[in-house]
């Protein structure tokens, strides 16, 4: 006779020649606490107990049990319990899967989206406000500053700043009622700009805590964007430097593979000061070196190694000087 002991998500079972001869079903609380152990191939209390009563039984642990054993659980009562157990386990696994790198990714993506929103709204603001005051708009490039200043100062004051008389402007006469919605829009843009800087500060803080080395080498925002493209710190740390160099250029890369168009030389990394400031003849080389160091930094951060950020950065700057 063959005796086997097998634990799954609903209980521990004794098999006698492939048929269930004894069982210890788990309570809801036990389901969670035993699941991890069983998955890691560790012994759990009910197994020990069953083994003491059936010395010599083979414990099927950490491997796939034979078909006849698994088949026993297709019975409706076991299936029903298995579904309940899997729902409990999966819910907990979903909750536990959320890590802080996911929070950086959400915030970083939100910063990119906020940038787009500010850009779109500001274009509308300028169109609209220019009916009232066309001349001033061109004197200020920053959308955020523009939105702010038109709320603070009158048309007369603003025109004076660029040396124009209000009477000679091409702007139409607006009632307060017609000016109000424009000012509301400007206020909205200002508040999006505030949101952006708060979230930037948040990303900088969490990057420094969680990816100190990447933060030092890539800078917080570029580092966060690379992280977002990779999907997680683990994935980023597994990427070779050549992949890091092209993160953010997936479309161009794909076009290259499909149509043989010229391969991209860099993705997001182009925004790194050491790359963007490099002469165009050495930009490819600079991108490669920066990617190389970011890749090393990500590996250190993933394995919670020591801080080498300053050294990495210095080495890089020395090489690219």
């Amino acid at each position: 006779m063959v005796f086997q002991i097998f634990s799954n998500c609903i209980g521990t079972f004794l098999f006698k020649d492939g048929k269930i001869a004894a069982e210890k079903l788990f309570s809801d609380d036990q389901i969670i606490s035993y699941h991890d152990k069983v998955k890691e191939g560790k012994e759990i209390a009910p197994e020990k107990d069953m083994l003491s009563k059936n010395a010599g039984a083979e414990v099927l642990r950490g491997k796939i049990p034979p078909g006849p054993v698994l088949k026993q659980f297709s019975e409706a009562k076991y299936l029903k319990r298995m579904r309940e157990a899997s729902i409990i386990i999966t819910k907990r696994e979903i909750a536990e899967s959320v890590r802080r790198d996911h929070l950086i990714i959400q915030a970083s993506n939100n910063i990119e989206e906020t940038d787009k929103v500010i850009n779109n709204l500001a274009k509308r603001l300028r169109e609209w406000y220019e009916l009232y005051n066309p001349e001033f708009s061109k004197s200020i490039e920053s959308h955020e500053k523009f939105a702010e200043i038109i709320q603070e100062k009158s048309r007369k004051e603003l025109l004076e700043e660029i040396g124009l008389k209000e009477e000679l402007s091409m702007g139409a006469a607006f009632s307060t009622e017609d000016l109000e919605p424009i000012m509301r829009l400007a206020a909205g843009i200002t508040s999006f700009a505030d949101l952006r800087s708060e979230q930037t500060a948040y990303v900088e803080k969490v990057m420094k805590d969680l990816l100190p080395n990447v933060n030092a080498v890539a800078g917080a925002l570029i580092g966060a964007k690379l992280l977002a493209r990779a999907g997680s710190l683990e994935k980023l740390s597994l990427f070779p430097a050549s992949t890091v160099q092209l993160l953010g250029a997936e479309k161009a890369l794909f076009r290259h593979i499909k149509t043989g168009a010229r391969p991209p030389k860099f993705g997001l990394i182009i925004n790194h000061p050491l790359v963007s400031r490099a002469k165009s003849s050495v930009r490819g080389k600079a991108a490669r070196m920066v990617a190389d160091k970011i890749s090393i930094a990500a590996k250190i951060d993933f394995f919670k190694g020591e801080y080498h950020g300053d050294d990495l950065k210095k080495e890089l700057e020395a090489k690219l000087r």
């Binding site: 799954n8 069983v38 078909g67 297709s74 899997s86």
Partner: protein, 225 residues
């Protein structure tokens, strides 16, 4: 309204102009899963199986002769994602069957969870299909292994799962994405290579290329020797 039973058990069809659409009988009437249309006939509600949203749906549209999934089947579904296709599989197998819906991405499994809570014949599993020993405690022997995961070694993963969980004479259904196996090779070459591998261990009972609905994808329906 002329909903008809298809030659394939558990599948229904309806003429819409010149076109034929495929339907499954909704196990949870009043609830749809991915924005699909529903049709009523008597007491029953049917959900359209949108062939552009599901590889198995595309296989139906390409007139696959066997699905490998029947009323009452127990199915191990690898790569369930948010459950678009898995929900139709759940309809087909009905309350006498069962679907173990596995995916390794927690984010998509969150949506799958809502589905599993509604459907009493569906169980969610978060695990990597590469490691069957890690979820052997959450499944049983099944009548069908269905796999749709975009992985380089998808054929090997499929075989591992069929070895572990598929009963003798059971069906293995594999959706292959050529680009995940090898970006440089022509899709046909990749399909050929997968076919040779499968044939060493299984009997291929049907094969369909899924374009134009799913570009560079194909589906193998196999039987375990």
């Amino acid at each position: 309204m002329t909903i008809q039973e298809n030659r394939l058990k558990g599948i229904f069809t309806e003429k819409k102009g010149k076109k034929i659409i495929f339907l499954t009988k909704n196990l949870t009437p009043g609830k749809t899963v991915y924005g699909e249309s529903t049709y009523r006939a008597g007491k029953d509600e049917y959900r359209e199986w949108v062939h552009t949203r599901s590889k198995l749906g595309a296989a139906l549209a390409k007139k696959v002769t066997q699905l490998g999934i029947y009323p009452g089947s127990k199915v191990l579904y690898l790569g369930a994602s948010t459950g678009t296709t898995a929900s139709h599989v759940s309809d087909v197998v009905g309350n006498d069957g069962f679907v173990f819906a596995l995916d390794f991405a927690p984010r998509t499994t969150r949506n799958l969870m809502y589905l599993c809570e509604l459907r009493k014949n569906m169980s969610p599993i978060i695990a990597d299909a590469k490691h069957p020993e890690r979820y052997a405690g959450q499944v049983t022997i099944v009548d069908c292994v269905f796999q749709d995961i975009a992985q380089r070694d998808q054929a090997e993963i499929f075989m591992k799962n069929c070895d572990a969980f598929l009963k003798k004479d059971g069906f293995g259904v594999l959706a292959v994405k050529a680009r995940s196996v090898d970006v440089a090779k022509k899709p046909k070459q990749v399909f050929q290579q997968v076919r040779a591998y499968l044939e060493s261990r299984m009997i291929i009972v049907d094969y369909k290329e899924l374009d134009p609905f799913e570009k560079d994808h194909c589906i193998f329906v196999c039987k375990k020797k």
